[in-house]
């Protein structure tokens, strides 16, 4: 029998660690200590999550969970996502330090806020109760509102934060109402109980449908899926660039893992109840429609952008659409594909945003695509890295983005959503235009004075780690898939 404290180690470490960093910040003026402690905490999260991965899911299922009253899910998929979130936090910290210094905004709150957001994400990934899920989503979202308005003297940062806050509260309301209806329908908040109730037919089907619909709305807002995506470009654009990468990768992954948790327990219950099958198929079809619209609209909007950061912001909407395919598939394979894509997407998008932040001149200069012309001559390594990220985002082998798409497409086809795959393929072709366009600008366009910015060690670390991640996931996807030696 495993002690529950050992299983809860990742959660405890990150929760206590983030508060510790917050207190350290108040106690000392030494920024270095706070920065390095934050890194240590995130490393601790990653390592402890890796440690819990070794336990077999069946053994964990038998473990005594009285302390958490069975509201927390341990090991398996949640541990994999812990590692993804820890990685996301680390990459963000590395990239943000010098970025903030250059913009004269190095305030330690940034680090503790990132840690707190990670706490929210970890809670979502570990939730076995709808209330835990809601708490995690809210904790993360509230931190995100603050991070978005971090440059508080920039008006569009404030505008973005305000918009995000207002619309986010709107969406949280729906999420909570959906949770309430599901509770009303099945009489439980514990997800494993809910699926048992559904399997035995003890539930109110109308409440369940509406509850599912409202939860879909709330979570799709957090994922930034159509038609709830409009806040995303503003927010990703208004946030500090190093943070934007965090919002649209880790934040998105957290919202997606929430969807995975719900889909796994509520949408894919094994039962012969015809009514239920009909309902879950409807829910999946709605998600499929949302996914299709999201990728098309996201890519088409990105097509017109002249600003790199905005282009990446819109493309991030499109990627949410791709990842939703894994949830539409609603199979183990689909959920694996979601986790895989989240990991790859983390590396490529954070890497790309880190480069944008690196190149960004104070007060948001150097952000147009045309500013990147001939980057090859001044920063050959950065240009090559950016090219790799763009190729990976476009889904070209041997980069990780290719396998990410491959697994998602295969999962969707196997679940009978060939039409969705075809739409995804068309959307990917459209996206080639702007991804390759940026490479074209960096490599083949002449520029009298190509931009030249100084050295930034931390950012380079982020970029280097991201490159390694993108390539490793592309040439050895097994390494990551080896983590999935569990059945949830």
């Amino acid at each position: 029998m495993i002690n529950e404290f050992i299983l809860a180690l990742p959660l405890l470490l990150i929760a206590i660690g983030s508060i510790l960093v917050l207190m350290l910040d108040a106690a000392t003026r030494n920024k270095q200590i706070v920065y390095y402690t934050s890194i240590l905490v995130l490393l601790g999260l990653g390592i402890s999550a890796g440690y819990t991965l070794q336990f077999d899911v069946a053994i964990i299922a038998q473990a005594d969970k009285t302390i958490s009253a069975n509201t927390i899910f341990y090991g398996g998929m949640s541990a994999v996502f812990d590692i993804i979130f820890a990685m996301g936090g680390l990459l963000t910290l590395f990239a943000s330090r010098e970025y903030l210094q250059r913009n004269y905004k190095e305030i330690n709150e940034c680090y503790s806020l990132v840690l707190l957001a990670v706490v929210g994400m970890v809670v979502i990934a570990h939730s076995n109760s709808l209330i835990m899920l809601f708490l995690g989503v809210e904790l993360m979202s509230i931190v995100f509102y603050i991070l978005t308005g971090f440059f508080r003297n920039r008006e569009h940062a404030l505008e973005a934060a305000l918009k995000y806050f207002i619309l986010g509260s709107f969406a949280s309301g729906f999420l909570l109402y959906g949770i309430a209806l599901i509770y009303g329908s099945t009489g439980s908040l514990i997800l494993s109980d809910i699926s048992q109730q559904i399997a035995s037919g003890n539930y109110n089907s109308i409440y369940l449908s509406i509850g599912l619909g409202l939860m879909t709305v709330g979570l799709c807002f957090k994922v930034a899926a159509f038609p709830f995506h409009q806040w995303a470009p503003d927010v990703y654009y208004g946030s500090p660039t190093a943070i934007s990468g965090f919002l649209c990768t880790s934040g998105k992954a957290a919202a997606l893992v929430a969807l995975v948790v719900v889909a796994k327990n509520v949408l894919s219950v094994e039962t012969s109840n015809v009514n239920y099958l009909l309902e879950s198929t409807t829910a999946r079809n709605i998600l499929a429609g949302i996914s299709a619209c999201t990728m098309i609209i996201g890519n088409l909007s990105a097509l017109a952008q002249k600003n790199v950061k905005r282009m990446l912001a819109y493309s991030s909407v499109a990627h949410a659409g791709y990842i939703l395919m894994g949830i539409v598939a609603c199979s183990t394979e689909g959920f694996y594909a979601v986790a895989f894509y989240c990991a790859v997407y983390l590396f490529m998008q954070v890497g790309a945003f880190a480069i944008v932040g690196f190149i960004e001149f104070r007060d948001e200069g150097n952000m147009l695509i045309s500013d990147y012309a001939d980057l090859r001559t001044t920063h050959p390594a950065l240009a090559a890295a950016m090219a790799c990220f763009m190729l990976s985002l476009a889904g070209i082998p041997p980069f990780g983005g290719f396998f990410g798409k491959y697994f998602l497409f295969v999962a969707a086809i196997k679940s009978g959503y060939l039409w969705l795959t075809l739409i995804a393929v068309v959307a990917s072709i459209i996206s080639m235009y702007f991804y390759i366009g940026l490479i074209l600008t960096m490599y083949f366009k002449n520029n009298e004075n190509p931009i030249n910015v100084g050295k930034m060690q931390g950012t380079k670390l982020t970029v280097a780690l991201s490159i390694i991640g993108v390539i490793l996931l592309g040439i050895m996807p097994n390494v990551f898939y080896g983590l999935f030696n569990f059945t949830f």
Binding site: H156, S209, D363, V410, I429, M432, K445, N446
Partner: protein
Amino acid sequence: MYDLVKFVPLLPLLGFLFLGLLGNKIKNEKIIGSIGCGTVGIAFVLLFSMFWNFIQAPPESAVIVPIYNWITIDDFNIQIAYQVDQLSLLFGMIITGVGFLIHVYSIGYMHGDRSFFRFFSYLNLFIFMMLNLVLANNFLVTFLGWEGVGLCSYLLIGFWYDKKFQGTRLTWTGDAANKAFITNRVGDYGFLIGMFLVFITFGTLEYTSVNQAASNAYMSYYGSGIMTAITIMFFLGCTGKSAQLPLAIWLPDAMAGPTSVSALIHAATMVTSGIFLIARNSVLFALAPDTMTVVLVVGIITAFTAASVGLVQNDLKKVLAYSTVSQLGFMFAALGAGAFTAGVFHVMTHAFFKGLLFLAAGAIIHGMHDEQNIKKMGGLKSYMPKTYFTFLIATFAISGIPFFSGFFSKDEILWSVYANNGILPWAILAISALFTAFYMFRLLYLVFFGKERFNCEHGKPHEAPATMTIPLIILAFLSAFGGFLGIPDVLGSWASESPNLIHNYLSPIFADANRVLHSHAGHSSHSSILELGLMLVSVLLAVFGIYKAKQYYSDPAWTSPRKLVRNYNGIYRMLLSKYKLDEFYFAVVVDTLLNFSKNFLWKIFDVKGIDGVVNGTAKGTLAFADVARKIQSGIVQNYALLMTAGIVAILCIYIFI
């Protein structure tokens, strides 16, 4: 022995890494050049020694040489492994052999270029990718190479990225590179979907197992929807990479790259990968008669269209580019008619003579100081005798003059199209062959004969250096005699039982496909008199084309062509503007998408006020004011409105469906 195949792609890869990382430290062009050529040359020697072993004692089945396990997930297992068999050896030798000659040529051609090392590192990378494409034992590794060659093609087309380039809505070489890449992507996704469907149908991606499974159960697969879907998707991929209609538009613009690139990638090797893919999966295609018809029709239409456009172009490389598109059309027509060997044979001879034509064109452009307009050339024969001589041999070969290499391969295509599909497809191809002879000899007369129409402000034209002429001579030799590997039975039956060496060599590869084809179509026999007669007709047509070209263009005033242009101005303009295909694509696809995105999604869906901020500091305070105003005018409500509409829609679906 066959384990050596591991080193074949490895060498160019090492060359690429070495030159790419350390090339700018080595200033010496000779060292860079010899490394670049050496890796490809050794790869050729390795392949040739394997080939030699192979024909001495052919193994029972293809030899699979595993490298490493790429992915293993439950039942999904992808190995990186190479497959050594007749087809991959033949293609590998074409790629490394012709590639080696073109590498050597490039030492002279790129002499003095500021990015000499970059050029050779890209070329090496290309060879690596191309070898992966043809040596792969499964679809995914081929796809890797398929994407990789696309990337190299992109890098090399845009190699002189600061050079102006004239094309429809293209102003510099980078645009041409972009166009090639994006057009290719459309085809690549066809490949990708085809691959998914193969995996779902057969549960594996390995060529040997897929072909085995398909041919074992051919009765149930023949003509089935899934086979048609798979093959059509793959063929879409082929139309992209091998520049067939409707995706042919990128190849003529790809001529923006250095000429040796045009020779290597856009004539001899990469563009034939579509042929390779179909030949590799001949069983799948044989099982889908509808797709075969599509392949045939597309091939014939492309051959004819491109040849007709080639008649009137004035840019030396453009003529050759359209000629390539047209010749690729011939190859696809052969595949569509079920004559897989003929298609592959034409790949080989075409690699010789088209590679030669491009290299000679490069020598001409080099000697003429970057002039490409054939109307500004003339009389070059006396200045560049070696180039002239080799160009002449290649022209004979492509025109199908008897006993030059092109004659054998083209004639085999024409005959098999006639034998399987009747007189009409044959006639269209024969007319295309007539056009080919005409435009090639038009080129020859305008460039090498007649009065000198260039001015000598840059100095007189001069012969190319030895590093350039030696590859020309070797290729000329191959263009002249390479065809004897495939003597048709009707001509060689007096000498031996089966004189067609290439046929004998490739027959195990296509045995399954031919079995499927014959079991359904029956083997119709035609008399050898008829075959000889048709051969004679096609030779006469070629001679007629040559005669007309001589008649038109040996006259210094070009009286008759000018009269033709006046009398048939409409047709002339249509051909000159390439049937307006580029304009069509821009108007229908590119502009529509961009406008939709710009005017609708961005300006209406998004806030106009953000636009000001996008421009950042430039608009400064004004933008802030604008944003502030916009916040108060209530944009958030708009967002919330759309959200509410979405919520209502979703709930309605839940409740009412």
